[in-house]
Amino acid sequence: MALPLFERLGGFAPVSKIVLLFYHKVEESEDLAQYFEDVEMGRLIDHQTKFMASLMGGPASYDDATLQRIHMPLEITNEAFEGMAELLQETLEDFECSPEDIASVMHEFRRRRALVVHP
């Protein structure tokens, strides 16, 4: 049975660096930072950690109902979703993840589009 990406990368220690890098990219992005403005740091980091873990096969996942519930009031547009996707891809490339792994994480991310985008 193939190990999930989370384990193949080496578990939480390396993944934590990926989470932080992604978090900072989002923080500095003009378009996306506005969605996170009012969210307090602890909650935001918690969200990013669980988010990354669920995309990589780590010990957490948001079920579909929860994902929908969290994102519905935020009125996220398709452009914003694609913006996140780009930053995510950039982050994984910065970490020199293999093209296959990047593709599979991006696939997991895009798979949830309908739950997240509610313009």
Partner: protein, 345 residues
């Protein structure tokens, strides 16, 4: 460049926000560039409580009186988000002059790591709880298959040694004419009924402190004295047998399908073992088992048959009828009896 000038430049360039404030009025007197970047540089004077909404004068006095620095967590705005700072306030006196020294360190990265560790550990703890629950569920299933002592042995060593039991009683039951029933009646409905009957049997068996060993098609085997040694193993099994008869008789009166059982009761040495490697079955072997099977085949429909040694273990409250002797394959001539009833049931 002299030392004073050097210190001045140093103060300007370090990444810690520094300020000196009046120890009485808390008015901010001197700041470095880093501080100004974070908190802004006003023309008018500001006091520490104005810079830090979290500033607690009482706590400050208390800490300084104990000759300890006053520590507090503050935040400074930076663009759209905030940076986390750890402030340390200490008092310094020279001659008559007393001032407060404020040092602010940027701990944003540290805080981020802290939150992430919190998040991750709560995920892992949740997963551990779920795994523990799953383990308990699996254990429960396995404990249904085999006695606890065997399970403990298997868990510890991965194998179990077959174990001999001398003081046990066995009940073997099957249904007369089941094969014919299975062919002529509606099979799924029939099996469903059989399942209901066996489920009721399980409840009765448990009531009397016995155990169902297994079912094989329409055959049902219960035992007493395996999981727990008991001097009443024979009486318990006899009581179960009578209850089974009673249950079936009542059921037949109210249901379309008639179920007629035969039972054999025996006592004798058996050996218990887990059989198989991939699929686990706990089974019993030995004369006790064989004798019960043969007595069962001797029984008429709705009759419970036992041998002499079993009868000897029963107390006087059980009513038995002498059936004479029978030649039992492997055991020779044996006196056999029918279990008719009990004063207590």
């Amino acid at each position: 460049m002299n030392l004073e000038r050097f210190n001045e430049l140093l103060l300007k360039s370090i990444g810690v926000g520094l300020a000196v404030a009046d120890a009485q009025t808390f008015e901010v007197l001197v700041t470095n560039d880093c501080w100004d970047d974070w908190f802004g540089r006003e023309e008018k004077s500001v006091s520490l409580p104005e810079v830090f909404p979290e500033f607690d004068v009482e706590r400050l006095e208390k800490r300084l009186a104990a000759e300890k620095p006053y520590l507090l967590d503050v935040a400074a705005p930076a663009g759209k988000r905030k940076i986390s700072l750890a402030a340390k306030i200490s008092r310094h006196s020279k001659n008559e002059l007393s001032v407060l020294m404020v040092e602010c360190q940027n701990v944003t990265r540290i805080k981020e790591m802290e939150y992430m560790i919190q998040s991750y550990s709560s995920m892992v703890e949740k997963q551990n709880r779920e795994l523990r629950r799953e383990k308990e569920r699996v254990e429960k299933v396995l404990l249904n298959i085999m006695p606890k002592t065997i399970y403990d042995e298997w868990k510890q060593f991965g194998v179990t040694a077959p174990q001999r039991y001398d003081n046990v009683s066995i009940l073997m039951l099957d249904f007369a004419g089941f094969t014919d029933m299975a062919v002529t009646e509606d099979p799924p409905a029939l099996i469903s009924e059989l399942n209901d009957i066996f489920t009721s049997f399980d409840r009765i068996v448990e009531q009397f402190g016995c155990e169902r060993l297994k079912t094989v098609g329409d055959a049902y085997i219960a035992v007493a004295g395996i999981s727990e040694a008991s001097p009443d193993h024979a009486s318990n099994i006899a009581a179960v047998a009578l209850r089974f008869l009673h249950f079936l008789t009542r059921r037949n009166a109210t249901h379309h399908q008639t179920w007629r059982c035969r039972m054999g009761l025996a006592t004798g040495p058996v050996v218990g073992s887990i059989v198989g490697v991939q699929k686990y079955v706990y089974d019993l072997f030995g004369p006790g088992m064989n004798l019960a099977a043969r007595l069962e085949s001797l029984a008429e429909p709705m009759q419970i048959v036992m041998h002499e040694e079993f009868r000897a273990l029963l107390d006087r409250s059980f009513v038995v009828k002498d059936l004479g002797t029978a030649n039992i394959r492997g055991f020779g001539e044996k006196a056999v009896f029918q279990l008719v009833g009990s004063d207590e049931l």
